[in-house]
Point group: C2
Chain length 283, copies 2
């Protein structure tokens, strides 16, 4: 049976470190603070907001939430973001997405200061993934996958990594982060031919295609490490990932569970970014 | 024998189109203008400056060159860039690189307005490669490789592409551009294990490792399209690429020559960006 790479454990260890860093910042008179900005009342947003808030409080981060109506005007939303930019007591801003269809998502995201962009949604945060410089922050879920590798001492260098899914919030950032870690990365997507055979070539297989239980037996071989980034409510009502866990765990060396995998680390990375932003702002 | 993918021909065809676009812009009173900014007197810079100038003049682009001494102060250089940013008669700025060691290259590049960044060196130009939006411009050499594919009607969609070399000016941008074109891209580099066998998996092999004649017989198989991005003076005094051309041409389906390949298109893409920048500025 495959070894379980527990996101819950990785998150616990990171949270311990963040509590220490928060205490130290407080000694310097700095209370790391996050503003969560939600437009509308999407149930997924509400659930993520709750989880993020809980984790931040565990770490010692002060929380402010702003809730705007789903029919907010573009200019009103930008104005709220500009106010957070100017407010020195706010170190990071999490804007929950997707935004309503009437809102220009690119303009809205890029109104936020990169120094407060704790979920890596501005162009300047994303460019940092290409240049390898610390401009802004990486998207939290992509960094959460890296944090699980780090927690279990898995060195990506020299490995063949296959990332399935080329989204802006996960696939492309994760591919660039793994390249930065000296993995040889293949980025697959909906137009990839013969996906299972490419997946089997991976030493490190990262599945983020957004389809419940997409990756089955033919994607795996012994020796692989599998990171499952999906989270879905399966037909049987149980939570599941993009991977057919039951088929993978008998074949591969190690795998993240769902729930309790990557998703369990994402809000802790968010908290880490807030602490880093507060630390930088105080320099 | 492999079909030759001639950059010279692709450049000629693009130049014809650019001459037309320049004439049309001139009818509207707009003369596309490029400022080449050179620090010091590196022979490679001088040669590229000469080639770029000649190509721009062929297209109908007005040229201005600014030459600063190799011991220029950081602030003086930034001031010159700011002046070009503010000058409405300058549509694009090409800053020759690498810059002298005393100069902060990242700060210098990012002082340039992305709208005038015709060689894709600002963070915002690079972020456009991830987001797929038209923010700034792509690095010219990476786009030159795409232009050769376009000229010969080669559709990257569904193909396995392997890019060797992860530089900021070519490898990473080219990998992202090929992903955008629906290729399944593997990005290789100095830490990649068993490079020849990965290279052989490519339908489209793009070699940009910066080592003369690095890729030999064992990198190739029949059916491949090979793009050679290197240019070096070989030990025998002849120009050569990163590929052992003599070994490749008997095996693969199509290959770019060196000289007369990607390098022959780069300055034409620069000219294209200047025309696009002038067109946008006039909107």
């Amino acid at each position: 049976m495959a070894k379980l790479l527990s996101g819950t454990e990785a998150a616990r260890s990171l949270t311990d470190q963040l509590q220490l860093r928060c205490s130290e910042l407080k000694k310097r008179g700095v209370i790391p603070s996050l503003c969560i900005l939600r437009v509308g009342s999407d149930p997924g947003d509400l659930s993520y907001e709750k989880g993020a808030g809980k984790r931040c409080e565990m770490c010692g981060i002060r929380l402010k939430t702003i809730h705007l109506s789903g029919d907010v005007l573009q200019e009103e939303l930008l104005q709220v973001i500009r106010q957070q930019n100017e407010d020195p007591s706010v170190h990071g801003v999490l804007l929950l997405r997707p935004l309503p269809s009437g809102i220009d998502a690119h303009l809205t995201a890029n109104t936020l200061l990169p120094s407060k962009d704790v979920d890596g949604m501005t162009d300047l945060s994303l460019s940092g993934l290409i240049t390898g410089t610390k401009t802004g922050f990486a998207p939290c879920t992509a960094e959460a996958a890296m944090a699980i590798l780090d927690h279990y001492g898995i060195d990506a260098a020299g490995k063949r990594a296959v990332v399935i899914g080329r989204s802006l919030v996960f696939g492309k950032p994760a591919a660039l982060m793994l390249t930065q870690r000296n993995a040889t990365v293949t980025l697959c997507h909906s137009k990839t031919a013969d996906l299972p055979s490419i997946a089997r070539q991976a030493d490190l297989l990262v599945v983020a295609c957004g389809q419940a239980r997409m990756a089955g037996r033919d994607f795996f071989r012994p020796g692989q490490i599998v990171i499952d980034v999906g989270i879905h409510q399966g037909e049987d009502g149980r939570l599941c990932g993009d991977v057919k866990f039951d088929e993978a765990q008998g074949i591969v060396d190690a795998i993240t569970p769902v729930p309790g995998g990557v998703g369990a680390v994402t809000t802790t990375i968010l908290a880490k970014h807030v602490v880093e932003a507060a630390d930088k702002a105080d320099e």
